[in-house]
Symmetry: D2
Subunit: 337 residues, 4 copies
């Protein structure tokens, strides 16, 4: 790290900062500029309280040189991580599409949707059993009953299944049933939930928080990896900005950035990003062309009567048509779908 | 609510929307404009899936007329709520200041801080036992041991105590010990935690989420109130914007807006909003002048050696000086401190 | 428009609002709900000061039903506008790529770049003669001398040329020389400049402002069209958000939204959006796949020595390789490049 | 500045960066860490194209150590600047309030307002002669006729006058008439307009741009000062965020930050920040308590019939009452009003 001293810092203050750094085990290298002095400090900063330094007299700023995440970093592991969910591989040559309704409403409807998305080419089935809803008056999900319906849909279709968990107390039961545990955007910094997901041993689909920087998102993945679970799929699902024409703003740049900074696979969620089914095809095509390893798309047999997020759900027929549109895009970026 | 039809909507589509609304128990009032038709619909929209309507053919948009929150609304309860924590009253004539360190580090230091903030005029003591930290490598709090230290500080000083809870599994033990349960910004939409806090029977200090709108913040309070707990203190702690000169941007306008929309008391957290102790006095003065019912301020006996958020902590002497500065401001807005 | 009355509005207040609306030439249709009354008002709102209504006693809100823009709207003109710049057509089947350096630095370098981007398949040459720079100490452009170099590059290559204008006093000289006038992001709400560009008779490339909503962007285009100039090319170039990993956040959703709301062509600027050349290929592919009508890309023969924005410039060889990558993407969305 | 090399940078690459820096006149100080090497470079970076360095092979990042602004910086000039407009002093002990309507509509109404705001204690009169309006169909101002009305109001009341200029071609005529030239938020990065305002010799009221960082705002002031004009009054008027409950979000933290970074006076505009007259008193009190040197407030004799921004205008009587409320706040921060 680099410590920048104020223009008004005295020699004594500079010496004190150097001494403190040496006491903490850092090697120091001061550079005396015309206006300001900066001190290079070599050592492991991870256990340091950086404000101990920044609040010393005469210090203007501390500039970190190393990234705060380690395990998720491509500096540590240069080969891309391929998350294997049975025979489905995320992060490899194949583009993997996850599809299904926002919430599991009843068995018949869910299995019908499962069959249709499988026929269209989806490899993983999504469905919400525990729903985080903005209003306490909205449908909150079928909970354990929903998990049973998911398992049955897996038996019928052979699709892998993923569902969101919103409470540390539910991680165990969810992990017993599903193939992938989803951490939603609102819980991206629910650190206890991240730890439990890490301990569950199941692959984790980690959505980016509404206002999370890419660095914070990777730090959330670091929490999971720190528990020994390295099977993480990152999911860009739109960030909150001033623009209200879409529910959120899909940050498509995050796809090449994640590919540069991390070895983890990254997919996109055009349904939650836009909040409107009619923009889902354009965003899906854009995300694949920009390098995403997959997509998670809401599909509902009858969006008009969905209990949750019907506005952003595709009909099965529209989803099937989109899957056809995506094939030449995947081929253009030398991937398969 | 108002349903806006597209310019291209046919008579049949308009009739179908009217019929569906009537089936759902709404009374309808169409208005035929030169370009667009709008349909007024009178009835209870709370259990309606609005996308059922918005996805009908010919519908352009649905405009809600009623606010989505009820219990927190000043439309429902015009008198301000005064949250009583023993003999401390939040939301009344008195400005209540909560102070203490980010994290509880050890008994001696914590009790020393407690005594100093009490002497300066604080009424409630804050301290973190369970810390939500961005990095898994940072200090995570003393947990149950921290709660014991808090209780001892209360015994010594007579101050009320507040601490943050980050996991549904901890609500019971926290509620047994503290006077106020805090829900932090990162958990503002951890709906299960909100429900558990609601069921705990303890007053809840509900911080605004980093990217939460005022409406979403009130909906989070609605979750708590929906469990029968009406003792909620809202806390503005800064929102995430493009500006990086402060850690977050204190949205001071939220104070008069909350006062207009809701009957709940609202306080400000200048320490987390700015992330830098040197801006805390200006923001504290500003918040009180704008109508806040109180403040929550980080104070640490030795910020340089704090295990958490030292940069934003005031020294006890600076805190005491600030309390003096705030008195004439409080008097200027006809409040007491 | 719809006027929403407060729950506390009296009959007299409702009657007064109706009377005022009728005086202003609106037909009124009140709807009496259980809690609130709303009044539908039919008429031309464009010349109305809406706050005249919103500040009447008892009024809670005014909800516009019609969009504020007319000329740019697809409601008015359903066929897409194809902007013809000589034989280059923007908005048709062909994807048009604009390329060139941020600033024109000298004749030799500029003409060399022009030849290389033409050979790679670009149809229009960009180059800055008047540069809006954040710092007064940065290179401000060659002004009229830059325009002469551009004209010469056009003679040599046959490429069309586009440059930014930043001052109403320069519109005339710029319009005499170039084929397309560019209005930059910082001037998107410089309304006088928009009017002058409208009067110039030249096609206008209108960049989206850093913090402009899509509606404000279309209103800026409306200013130009209101002067009788209908040849406008919209350009998404990234918006300002909290994320700092890229200079701006490319709002890829704006592409399908503009296609829905307006008949005007829309292109993307991946260079300014990301601020880093290495993300330009991914964003270029994503924008074309999402439906953009073209791209504007910074290319510099020697980015290391560029006087402006070298970090975001591609080398000619990288640009040529990108053009090859884009061809199958264009084909996948049934366009040509 | 500090150049951070990639972990993979070779010795040759490090040597090349050092050589290039030395060629450019910098003294270099490499520091070899365990993972990364950083190079300290001492010299004047203002005329350097930093991307020349950042794009050299092996370079990861460049960290500036010096601030990009000079003339506006408190590092250069420690005493606060007091802008004198005749006998009115901005930036001194006195809190200066500027008041008046958004737009000048006619002589009688304007002079009536001028008299009322003077009686309430305002020292400077605002009024728009050239209005930047989002819609081309809105009232655009009386232009030169408006200036004449302003001058007459000054004669009648003795108030100083300030108006916004939106076109370089109007700076001369505006500077001849008014006491202070205003640069609006939408033109904060209209650099030519900044230069003309700098050359005009008149004090300049520089509003912060909707999405301008504090650093960019100071750089805009630097443009004006670079033309030799040091009489600048900064004005915080709200930034664009995701929150829609107010038109913009008043960034009250910017007040103490400007006081720390710059010697220039700073005032607040609660009318444009909130967009709603009812929040103006709370924000006015908050801004003064936080350390603002003054306020600019919209006042209109009949907001209901205002041709522009009536929603955010106070009635003269409300303004007069607010001025009384502000006096004890000013006294509490040891200022006068």
């Amino acid at each position: 790290m680099i410590i920048v001293m104020k223009p008004s810092a005295t020699k004594e203050q500079i010496a004190m900062v150097e001494n403190k750094l040496m006491e903490l085990g850092f090697k120091t290298h001061p550079i005396y500029g015309e206006v300001k002095t900066v001190i290079g400090a070599i050592g492991d900063k991870r256990n340091l309280n950086t404000h101990y330094i920044t609040t010393l007299p005469g210090v203007e700023a501390l500039v970190p040189i190393m990234k705060p995440y380690k395990l998720t970093s491509r500096e540590l592991k240069q080969d891309p991580t391929i998350v294997e969910v049975g025979d489905v591989k995320l992060g490899g040559e194949e583009i993997v599409v996850i599809a299904g309704p926002c919430a599991i409403e009843n068995k018949d409807s869910f299995i019908k949707t499962a069959i249709s998305v499988k026929n269209a080419g989806a490899k993983i089935l999504r469905g919400g059993a525990y729903k985080p809803r903005t209003s306490p008056y909205s449908f909150q999900g079928l909970a354990a009953d929903g998990l049973k319906i998911m398992a049955e849909a897996r038996n019928v279709t052979g699709l892998k299944i993923v569902t969101e968990v919103v409470d540390t107390r539910d991680v165990e039961i969810v992990a017993e049933t599903v193939d992938i545990i989803q951490i939603g955007a609102r819980n991206m910094q629910n650190f206890r939930l991240l730890q439990e997901a890490g301990l569950s041993g199941k692959p984790v689909l980690l959505k980016r928080g509404l206002s999370a920087t890419i660095e914070e998102w990777l730090m959330a993945a670091e929490y999971i990896m720190n528990e020994g679970n390295h099977n993480i799929i990152l999911c860009e699902r739109g960030i909150r900005t001033f623009e209200t024409a879409t529910r959120n703003t899909l940050d498509i740049s995050s796809i090449p950035i994640i590919k540069e900074l991390s070895h983890l696979p990254v997919i996109a969620d055009p349904s939650h990003a836009s909040g409107t089914w009619k923009y889902v095809p354009a965003l899906s095509r854009g995300a694949i062309a920009a390098g995403a390893d997959g997509l998670i798309i809401e599909v509902h047999p009858d969006p008009n009567s969905a209990l949750c997020d019907g506005e952003q759900s595709l009909k099965p027929s529209t989803f099937a048509a989109l899957m056809e549109e995506l094939k030449p895009i995947a081929a253009a970026v030398k991937r398969m779908l």
